[in-house]
């Protein structure tokens, strides 16, 4: 039981970290960035290159890979979203163009790294097992949970306390009103993309380390889960995404333990369905007042 709870918190922390970035962009732009999973994947590859080929230690490679992911986010915003902004159908066309960018990113990774699974060299992270009660966890798993929680706390602080955070919230509320109040909307959106993609990239690096397995399609395994998490948490809600991420991880694990793994996705999505019936805006979603 203890081991399964730990397994759940562990996967949940990665789902949550992936989903907060996803939901941040949605909150600001009302657009799903479907290239988020490709950024997740490319950041993992970037970390691999830095560790395996540039021989950097992991503590140096990881921030660089995260920075790279953030810059990819800015590129993504410039290429896939900004040119379409202001059009009547920008929600759908942005969705499609981000899907296109995601496919291009995947194709690039396929050309450079090939279809095979790549791995971090042996000993990138010290192999140590720690026993907590009856459960065993690797040092790496505990670090991943800690890093995820710290990054999510930093994001919450940034949004609540800093000038940039206030501007992001203002743009999310109404871009037009924010512009009238003197906020540089384009810059704030670019910043939101940078933060979102950095977090997605960090999740990618942690995921790759945890399962020591990176391939161009690695993002697919978290993409749908991430989408489920942000819907469950309430579109655009950061605390909602965090709670829903951990909840989904735990639901999945205990479904496997209780009913068998064949029912895992069925139960996860049934819970999603029931929550949406009871609370159509998700667990912590905002009422749709401003759209009226």
């Amino acid at each position: 039981m203890g081991q399964q709870a730990l397994n759940g918190v562990f996967v949940g922390s990665i789902y949550a970290l992936f989903a907060v970035g996803y939901t941040l962009v949605f909150g600001v732009l009302d657009i799903l960035n479907l290239a988020h999973q490709a950024v997740f994947m490319l950041a993992a590859f970037a970390a691999l290159l830095l560790v395996a080929d540039a021989h950097l230690p992991l503590w140096a490679a990881m921030p660089l890979a995260v920075l790279f992911a953030g810059l990819l986010g800015i590129l993504l915003e410039r290429l896939a979203f900004r040119p379409l902004r202001g059009r009547a159908d920008s929600n759908i066309s942005g969705l499609i163009s981000s899907l296109a960018m995601g496919t291009v990113f995947e194709a690039i990774a396929l050309q450079i790294f090939g279809p095979d699974t790549s791995r971090f060299p042996h000993g990138t992270f010290p192999d140590r097992l720690i026993r907590i009660g009856g459960a065993s966890a690797s040092l790496l798993q505990l670090c991943i949970i800690a890093i995820s929680v710290v990054l999510m706390a930093l994001l919450t602080l940034l949004l609540a306390r800093t000038r940039l955070g206030r501007q992001i919230r203002a743009v999310a509320e109404s871009p037009r009103a924010a512009r009238i109040l003197g906020v540089n909307v384009d810059r704030v959106i670019a910043a939101a993309f940078f933060i979102s993609s950095s977090l997605g990239g960090a999740a990618g690096v942690l995921f790759a380390l945890a399962f020591n397995s990176i391939s161009p399609d690695v993002g697919r395994s978290v993409e749908l889960k991430g989408l489920a998490v942000i819907i469950l948490g309430g579109m655009g809600s950061i605390p909602g995404a965090v709670i829903a991420g951990f909840a989904l991880g735990l639901i999945e694990v205990f479904t496997v333990a209780g009913f068998g793994s064949s029912y895992r996705d069925a139960v996860s999505f049934a819970v999603l369905f029931v929550v949406l019936l009871a609370r159509p805006r998700g667990l912590l979603g905002q009422a749709a007042a401003r759209e009226a």
Partner: protein, 375 residues
Amino acid sequence: MSSASRRMVVLLLLGIACKEKPAGEASAPSGGALIGAALSLTGAAAVYGAQQRAGIQAAAEEIAQGGGPKLQVLIEDDGSTKEQGITVFQKFINRDKVSAILGPTLSNTASAADPLAQQAQVPVLGISNTAATGITDIGNYIWRDSLTEAQVIPGAFKKAREKLGFKSAGVLYGNDDVFTKAGYDVMRKTLADQGIKVLDTQTFAKPDRDFHAQLTALIGVKPDVVVVSALADNAAAIVSQARQLGWSGPILGGNGFNSPAFIKNAGAAAEGVMVGTSWNSLSQEPANQKFLEAMKKRGVNPDQFSAQAFTGVQILAEAIKRAGGKTGREEIEKGLGLVKDLDTPLGKFSFTPSRDAQHDPSVQQVKDGKFQIVQ
């Protein structure tokens, strides 16, 4: 939506051309019989496809040098998916007008693509399809040189039991793939036949990377042995995570484990894993030594999949020879029926009346980072 259908949607929506590979790679001299090979060069089965390509190219070269019938092999990527496999088969049958088809890599793809060839009366020789049913029973134009799991697993489990003496098992298998599911069906039957108690059964899907929950549940019921049916990439992750969760007992694998990529990726965790195989790497027969030499020349680490691919080309060449050197679809089909006791890397090769492979399987175990045949 599955990742495969999702990818199709993406491709349809965008018509992205930038990731297309150059259309087909030809090997061996032009002229002679045109053979299409549908291999998984990308996707979940890519580790096998690369091995198969090496085996096919080596065999085609070998046969050309040995003065055998001229074979021109067109290699296309089936992407490890049914959809792309069907597209490749349509191209081979209608556009390239090949005389025969090798592949596709996965049973999953074969179950969808082979009926097209059967309908067009183009002989297909499967070189890695191991699902017991749903392949050669598609029709009389479908053949294979790969032993089914049903031919390999019972012998492998018997031998493993002699060595390890287990009485109960925990089972983990991929339930979204014909190949891993068929492997599981045979395992379940074999375990029941041999009186081994199955304490718990868990499943996973191909895109999964995290198996902690399933493995924790399996280890929790304390079986004597863990039995796994998975493709090589998943297999490596499963074995690593099982060791990480503290499982030190034996692990028995299905055919998907039969790849050097499995050992490379699982590292030290792979030690002791046992698996049945249809290729005995230690065989001193001249046909096997010739194959080993050809692979060494190409710098490829040989495995069961390259051996079966190599054998596939040999069988087609033999079929053409038996048909009096004619290379039409009908002639090759007739010639395949006449192949008997052919010397191949797999041993003396014949077909069963149901067009399946017939030769002796072996058992191998990972020791010092290498598959070693269990005597």
